[in-house]
């Protein structure tokens, strides 16, 4: 045969791509560190980096030095953790939804989970209940939406990507109508806090251990299925012919992605953009294999949201912006930059453009 591939050449290419992956993940981890530093140092009170380190490491320093320690330990650290967790959950969920629906435009909210959560949260605001109820109401609303879509789309043999997508979009539209109804019948005072919630806001959020346990659990579960996920991105039948239990995988994708989204929305409201754009940024950077895409999305999503939140606190300090406003403002140019520098075709569907 004229053109033969000899053993080393394929492996050589792979080892080159391994070096690239190491570089990529090095960069992602650096971004996470930068994100944390920014989150802990920025705000209406400036605290230099070396001091933040002291305040965090020396627990006894907290008693000694005043308000600075309390700001870092009780306000900024929990908020930074919440930002990281929310970003990681949204980006992971976005990756999973895009495979589940085999649609590059899918995001964590496309199946109406955020709508359900919003109706719950806004209901609490409208009724003037204590804000502690918002968490429960939002999570209940999200779960209700998950079960509703699941019950409707999973009936009969169903479960095709199109059927699921259509059901989710319609349920989502239903929640949207309810949200608009609540907004239009509420007083000016409450509408403001409702809008803040809808845009996504981290000012009341506290990252907790179980958020990270959830992220890790989903990550481990899905990493074990990373190769089957690669196959499923090529189509359900293709995956089934390669020995993937498609039904089970779709179910676990749906449940895990929903749980992540519900937790993220409950934690910080419906922050847009992260779940849609982060997976694509990574794919455009060459991480299309789910073994890299899943952990990469968690790291990039987390660091991205920490940076956006740091800006949200400082741009018009001492006032704070809802972080959802900034995710789009930062994300749009960053995404466009990567899109136009990338050699990968933008059209995933393979439609060729006219010259």
């Amino acid at each position: 045969m004229t053109c033969a591939v000899n053993g080393p050449s394929l492996k050589e290419q792979t080892s080159r791509s391994v070096r690239y992956d190491v570089l990529l993940f090095g960069l992602l981890i650096t971004l996470v560190i930068i994100g944390f530093i920014l989150s802990l140092t920025s705000g209406s009170v400036r605290i230099p980096v070396n001091e933040v380190w002291n305040l965090l490491v020396n627990a006894d320093a907290s008693s000694a030095s005043s308000s600075q320690a309390r700001i870092v330990q009780e306000l900024r650290l929990p908020r930074a953790l919440a930002a990281f967790a929310t970003g990681a959950m949204l980006a992971l969920s976005g990756v999973m939804m895009q495979v589940l629906l085999r649609n590059p435009l899918a995001d964590p909210y496309i199946l109406g989970i955020s709508g359900g959560a919003a109706v719950g949260a806004l209901g609490v605001i409208m009724l003037g209940l204590a804000s502690i109820w918002m968490t429960y109401a939002a999570f209940t609303g999200a779960l209700l939406s998950v079960l509703l879509v699941f019950g409707l789309a999973g009936r009969r043999q169903g479960w095709s990507a199109t059927r699921l997508l259509l059901t989710g979009v319609v349920i989502s539209a239903g929640w949207g109508a309810l949200i608009n109804l609540m907004l239009s019948t509420s007083s000016n005072q409450t509408v403001h806090s409702m809008l803040f919630w809808l845009m996504g806001d981290l000012s009341q959020s506290r990252g907790q251990l179980w958020h990270f346990v959830l992220i890790l659990a989903v990550l481990v579960l899905m990493m074990a299925q990373a190769r089957p996920l690669n196959a499923m991105a090529r189509g359900d039948l293709q995956a089934a012919a390669l020995g993937v239990n498609v039904r089970r995988l779709r179910l676990s994708l749906y449940l895990c992605a929903s749980l992540l989204t519900a937790s993220a929305v409950t934690l910080a409201g419906s922050i847009g953009f992260v779940g849609l754009i982060i997976p694509h940024m990574l794919r455009l950077s060459g991480a299309r294999d789910h073994r890299k895409l899943l952990p990469g999305a968690a790291l990039l999503g987390g660091s991205f949201l920490m940076m956006a939140d740091s800006l949200a606190r400082t741009v018009i300090a001492p006032q704070q912006l809802p972080v959802g406003v900034l995710t789009a403002m930062l994300g749009v140019p960053a995404f466009l930059l990567i899109l136009y520098r990338s050699r990968m075709p933008a059209s995933a569907s393979g439609n060729r453009e006219l010259p």
């Binding site: 045969m1 004229t2 053109c3 033969a4 591939v5 053993g7 050449s9 394929l10 492996k11 290419q13 792979t14 895009q98 495979v99 085999r102 649609n103 590059p104 990493m223 074990a224 299925q225 990373a226 190769r227 089957p228 690669n230 196959a231 991105a233 090529r234 189509g235 039948l237 293709q238 089934a240 012919a241 390669l242 020995g243 993937v244 239990n245 794919r283 299309r288 294999d289 990968m344 075709p345 059209s347 995933a348 569907s349 393979g350």
Partner: protein
């Protein structure tokens, strides 16, 4: 040993396939031995693809059972089945971007564990597939950018990498230029014959079937079928009946060629 006496590799017993209530094939009995190549011919909608999907376990037969190496495929896990039977789909859908290499590597999926790295065997099979389909220049291209024929070569390479004992091919010559049609069939034939595997291909190309297959299953389109040695089934009368067109045969250098006759464009002009 006489090749006719080789062990039964793939057994189809009393299998009936229906689509939307319409019978496609009734009570199909067929045994494929190692080293045999079978063509499925038939008009549009006669059930070629449905039958292949049934053989791959993607849909259940209405009746009957299918076994590979004397094991009922219904009792096998999807992964265990995919290690032994592989299917080339009629068309690949590429909604999500992936490179050629990534797509071919997926063929090794049934042979891999969740956390395992690529083994030496995995690499060997992938390299062989890449060489056979002459794709070494394409490995880092996105599959969405490829032409139809190039995409088909990637799909065939992925199937070669999967390296099943029974190859199921749904229109393998789709989009391929004539040289790759021959090349793909030669490669597959060689593997089937030298490694004691088997091949079933659905095709519209009667001449490709005549040239590369030992046996033919002709679906008549109404649930009935004819099955037998290629020369016995590929006759003018049977083909004409199945396709409802007058099909004639000419022989050239010991090969039979089939073409639709009575079909002169000039004759139809007023």
């Amino acid at each position: 040993m006489n090749p006719g006496m080789a062990a039964a590799l793939f057994q189809i017993q009393q299998v009936s396939v229906t689509m939307a209530g319409k019978p496609l094939c009734n009570d199909l009995d067929l045994t494929l031995r190692a080293g045999e190549r079978l063509a499925i011919l038939g008009p549009n909608g006669s059930g070629k693809t449905s039958l292949l999907h049934t053989l791959m376990g993607l849909q259940k037969p209405r009746t009957g059972q299918i076994s590979i190496n004397a094991q009922n495929i219904a009792a096998l896990s999807a992964a265990a089945l995919a290690r032994q039977v592989g299917l080339l789909f009629q068309s690949a859908q590429d909604e999500m971007p992936a490179t050629v290499l990534e797509t071919i590597l997926l063929g090794r999926l049934p042979h891999q564990h969740s956390w395992s790295a690529m083994s030496e065997l995995d690499w060997k099979q992938v390299e062989r597939a890449v060489t056979h389909m002459e794709l070494s220049e394409f490995l880092n291209r996105d599959v969405c950018e490829l032409s139809g024929g190039e995409r088909q070569r990637v799909a065939i390479a992925a199937l070669l990498a999967q390296s099943p004992q029974v190859f199921l091919l749904d229109e393998p010559s789709n989009h391929l230029d004539i040289s790759f049609q021959i090349k793909a069939m030669q490669v597959l034939s060689k593997i089937v014959l030298s490694e004691q595997r088997a091949l079933i291909m659905a095709t519209h190309d009667i001449n490709l079937a005549a040239r590369f297959c030992d046996r033919v299953l002709l679906l008549m389109g109404n649930g009935r079928y004819c099955e037998g040695q290629t020369r016995a089934v590929l006759t003018e009368s049977l083909l004409s009946a199945a396709f409802c067109v007058d099909i004639q045969k000419i022989s050239h250098q010991g090969h039979d060629f089939f073409f639709p006759a009575g079909f002169s464009p000039h004759a139809q002009r007023p």
